[in-house]
Symmetry: D2
Subunit: 355 residues, 4 copies
């Protein structure tokens, strides 16, 4: 009822706050026989870690993932896999001002309304730190998808209004902004510098491509593949919109333009974004997510205190300018969780057909 679990067969439950001992994920339903070691998590956890880019805050958390259970002699056993990420920097931040004022654009206000308190020591469950557990679980999901050739790749399509025009996927991983277009990236960096100078922040659009997904994943009515992907993506705090394939553009096409002609090799076009009737069609799956600008800015803003009295807030300290570089590994992880779950559901269903 409290919504800290995700998935049906491959079911992930996360816990933890930034001020406690750590955060973690328990995955129930992972098949046995998958090779897994704590080293497997390093690169993904590194990507999610703040404090790497010029536009990031200089905090440094060494996020190592401990496997507490479910692996024996290097292989998953079929028992629940418990992943734990200790908090290294758990001391409370001393934002005294936050004890009384709600930060615009943050969840302070809604938490206070819901729970009667909000956690000014580091935002409790709505801390960005919570997403580290998702990334860790996503690594395990990846171990199910990789051997099947199902690849998830996200990149920055747009940042601060600047759109990538060329798509060289080899550039993405080398780029601090995950941008496939080096020219656009230079402009994006300039926009970030400018925003930083103004104490402001920027948003953008991330595109995710899922390559190698076989046809047949997704359930026809409520648990459509696109429905679950969309929920997964929007469950990331900064995301305010999601599209599949042609997305909002499809609203302006005619049927004759939007239908993808079917050919022996599959489909001639991919307006559908790889999903028809909620089920993968074997084509590339394309998801786009709108990422809002980070709400923490250095510019003074109107707010109220806990008693509802008008006030002004100016946040000090160091903030990221744009969430995208940190959102991308989380987005990929969430997409992998959906795919691993639906892949296992599909395989299980197939094995039961005609039973």
């Amino acid at each position: 009822m409290a919504g800290n679990s995700f998935g049906e067969i491959f079911r992930v439950t996360t816990y933890g706050e930034s001020h406690g001992k750590g955060i973690g994920a328990v995955i129930d339903g992972c098949p046995s026989g998958i090779r897994l070691s704590s080293l497997d998590f390093e690169s993904e956890m590194g990507r999610r870690r703040p404090g790497q880019g010029a536009f990031d805050t200089p905090r440094k958390e060494e996020d190592s993932v401990e496997i507490l259970s479910g692996v024996f002699e290097g292989l998953t056993t079929g028992a629940p896999i418990s992943l734990f990420i200790p908090n290294k920097d758990a001391r409370s931040k001393s934002y005294e001002i936050l004890e009384s004022l709600f930060r615009p654009g943050h969840a302070d206000y809604t938490y206070f309304k819901k729970y009667g308190h909000f956690d000014f020591h580091g935002a409790g469950r709505y801390s960005a730190r919570e997403t580290a557990a998702r990334v860790a679980a996503g690594v395990l999901a990846g171990r199910i998808l990789d051997p099947k050739g199902i690849i998830v790749a996200a990149y920055t399509l747009e940042l601060g209004g600047i759109r990538a025009e060329s798509f060289d996927m080899d550039k993405v991983n080398g780029s601090p902004l995950y941008c496939p277009d080096p020219k656009a990236e230079l402009l994006m960096e300039e926009a970030l510098r400018k925003a930083k100078g103004e104490g402001d922040s920027l948003g953008g659009i991330v595109e995710v491509r899922i390559i190698g997904c076989p046809p047949g994943l997704g359930e026809p009515v409520f648990d459509k593949l696109d429905a679950d992907l969309t929920k997964a993506v929007i469950s990331i705090g900064a995301v305010k919109g999601v599209e599949i394939g042609a997305g909002f553009e499809a609203a302006r096409f005619k049927g004759s333009e939007n239908n993808d002609p079917i050919i022996p090799a599959g489909f001639r076009t991919n307006k559908a974004g790889g999903i028809l009737g909620g089920i993968s069609n074997g084509d590339e799956i394309i998801v786009r997510a709108a990422v809002k600008p980070i709400p923490s800015i250095g510019i003074e803003q109107d707010t109220v205190d806990r008693e509802g009295r008008p006030s002004r807030i100016r946040m000090t300290g160091r903030f990221d300018v744009c969430a995208i570089p940190r959102v991308i590994p989380v987005l990929e992880a969430m997409v992998k969780l959906v795919l691993a779950d639906h892949y296992l559901r599909f395989r299980a269903m197939k094995s039961l057909q005609g039973e």
Copy 2:
């Protein structure tokens, strides 16, 4: 695992196909003491029914909802409520061509890949008829929301590229296109006529406003209110994109533009669309859905047969030109299902606080 249920406390399970005896919904977890009669369903079911507008197919299904259980002397008892909608027009359609060819833009292809068959007699669970069960369940959800003053209203923001510019909500219900702008509606009708003449179809954008939602609904991590709303909306077959509040526009705002200043009365602006950190903030909740053009068109298209051999398909018969008028009641129903569930979760949580 097969995904025919939706919701956590207020849990809806639907069943049924267009060629069988009927379709239905069972709702487990509906509180007792809610007044309900089969008459309550008439107006909503009527809105969903095809064959009403000039641009709809002339089929006519008299959709009456039978209450099979869970109501005693006019009040819900706390037992499961079973709603049944008999199929009146259950004879198979005689689209012989569909027995061998996949219709572009439909789920024929993916169903065939998933299940090894597709249901050419009326599309099985991916028939639009399935949504009648959602609308019926949505009426019950509305009976929970209405007394709390939580109102869900959807209207056509854009159709065939023509956008409403004025928003007179009183016009919406009288309008066959659910358009709040009479001038735009005239242009939309013209576009529909033109598309119809060409044997083509149109899409558009629907906007949903939720008025009167108290702050506090939604769970912080995976079951965020916007995540569940988004899943609900995308689970409608024709929807290819969803936005909350500023949505994709937020990607181009700066933080100082996108943050809604907090004032004693609530928020000065509503870029957030009424949801912060996945929890309702007391402001109007705004959801937009991109509806693709109907894939059934009278223009010949490329396709393949079941053996994968290239072929051409021209669909005959009468088709709707735009799905929006039929999607709107379904959209409202799905939004109500999410709200009723989260409202009950919120109230239950509140009642347990400090237990």
Copy 3:
């Protein structure tokens, strides 16, 4: 949350009361390709029907099962299967006395405490009629188990203190008391006649044998096969105790007596009742259920009215003397639901191993 669903993969949701239009079950997760027609339900529904034996009430309900969805051309499609059993005899019984007095041994008192009302027109969800939906769902479960050679057979081990001493399974189905021992049956009938004459009722013990269950069914921790079987059996209103294998006798054995020696062919004895560590071991699974005497008796009893004032109640009308003949088909159905669900979970898990 309201507990009207059962099972994980093969998930049954039931609804309905004796005073409404009927009762039903929706099964989500049934594999496709299973042959099913409404005739398949006849014999099981007939067994459950009251009014057959000399010691039963003479009511007669013609329980036919309608398949509302999920079957196409005689085969399940993978879509939810909706089964409906219309109430033929839905007029309220005229037990005026029940409007104000709680019947001892019935759930009137606890329903009133829980919901603030109880349903004197026929007991609502705690009516024995609710079990017809379980029997119908059990028939479908049987269609999954039968082709695998998994057979469920229940019989009367003890009735009114008289215990079967010989076990001729061929006698069971011909016997109105499901008794495998014709000599014991004569004594049981005599005891029933005597109790009937006294306006009293009798209980007994039912034994269920599951033959042909392969090893490996059951999950190791909470969803052990015996745990789910036990829950299923106790969820039948009249059952007050459950044993697996040696059961309570095991409490008096020494380890050397209770351990089943393992031999190449399996096990030399079967104290374990076919389940070790919550997982089936390939041997016969043995479950015993203690059935209490029917609480409706013709003898005057102490009770209170709704205001808590002491009163006396004497129930008139015609009642069954012993619940066992009607409980047996329900018991078999519940056991089949558990087995079908765990069988599918097992097969799904196996298909995913090493994925």
Copy 4:
């Protein structure tokens, strides 16, 4: 699907093996505002710990519970509570013989059939160590029940065939055998000494009383309170039978004997064991569990090796003679988990009535 979670609102997921880093439980759905510290776990964990009594193995595990999340300034926050119990003695036991032979009465055989392997280093998820996570979660459940005056007390009713005849609850906690009858306890100890001398083991019967449970807990159909209690109790490996109230004795009563007369103060007798129609009636709830003798014995037994070849096994090392003293805290914990979950479900339902 893999069955490592339990409960609906108060949902516990456990993980961990005896050979890994530790075991743990994550509880999602715990209300906020409950005082909790790691000290709260000490006494219960101490009770479960082996190596205390004269008839226990001398192993000593210092089981401390770490609260990894969900508590802030000593109070639960509504976020998931993660409890972790590090393994102190994680080195593999050197039972070389177990690498090839199945131990009779243990789950080695069924695990091997299910997963293709069994964990001879300490029994994986079927290790008794798994239950430590249940006890820890049970402590949290107790924090919900205690303030409501709902008390769970278990004691040894019978051991090695010797039955307690007097019931002085004050004696229970001081007794290493949890026996309420000091005279019977002396005989039980003698029986244990004798069995130990023979290299054999003993079983018994545990009775659990739930005092102070208000009427109304339990759902009418599948999730009856007794059904969930029974599942919880049987999910403990050593338990082979469960009774509620009169249990198997009820099978021999007449209706006039078994019905509890209703009086203004409640019920004159308690054959029902505090539950009617699956719902608590306000009386004491009485559950009895049959505990089998420990399968690990020093007497040589027939078995087979992994290839199915007949062999003999004699287990060396030190084993407990009777599981009851270690089972009792686990039993209490499981009963508390069920009660906490149903208490919260009941309170939530009540708060929604008439919504």
